[in-house]
Symmetry: C2
């Protein structure tokens, strides 16, 4: 049968808060990965299309919220100004992504039931 | 041991989209319940602290996104201008709340593992 409307889609956003701070969310996870790939906060910021200042503030918020550095200045070498994502930072991103995936999977499993329930009188749902 | 920081908390927001429209989300679910309780769109809007126009637009978006009315004018009686949440509307809210709860439960189950992983070197997480 012809489908007139696009499908119902799931939009699930997970954030971890500590008090007023967002410790981890979609944007911060992306930023950490961008910093890890670029090897610097400025490179990560560029990749994300955000200012260095904004990236730096997000990093500062994460470091404070987790009570330990997720990103820190690279020591040694001659990279001057480089930064690296710490083991804790990588673990935090990985765990966050996993929680998000698991939550999404649960909703995806439940969605057909919702569509069936709502679609009794309509075939387009 | 003394806890210096508030706990890590989960902030999970589920939305169902159809194309550009948000078919259902936290605000729309609250609004539907407020309309159901008040018996009118204007009463529901008041309860939500939003304008009638905004509530009406949200209702219109939902009705369009689900392809059938979730809210409709009350027929008969002398209530003049009253509105009711349809069976489909009630089912949609109920199913949405359930999906949200189930997703939250999954994340809540996973959070202690994340805290343990991150907390190896810190006791405050």
């Amino acid at each position: 049968m012809a489908r007139k409307q696009p499908e119902l889609e799931i939009d699930l956003r997970l954030r971890l808060r500590r008090g007023e701070d967002i410790a981890m969310g979609p944007g911060k996870a992306d930023l950490l990965e961008a910093i890890a790939a670029a090897g610097s906060i400025s490179g990560g910021a560029r990749k994300m299309g955000m200012s260095y200042r904004r990236a730096w503030l997000l990093v500062e918020t994460m470091n404070r919220a987790f009570g330990q550095p997720l990103v820190r200045a690279k020591t040694g070498g001659n990279s001057g100004g480089g930064a690296e994502v710490t083991e804790i930072g990588l673990a935090a991103v990985e765990a966050y992504r996993r929680l998000q995936r698991e939550a999404l999977r649960v909703v995806e499993r439940g969605l057909p039931g919702l569509k069936r329930k709502l679609g009794k009188s309509r075939s387009s749902l």
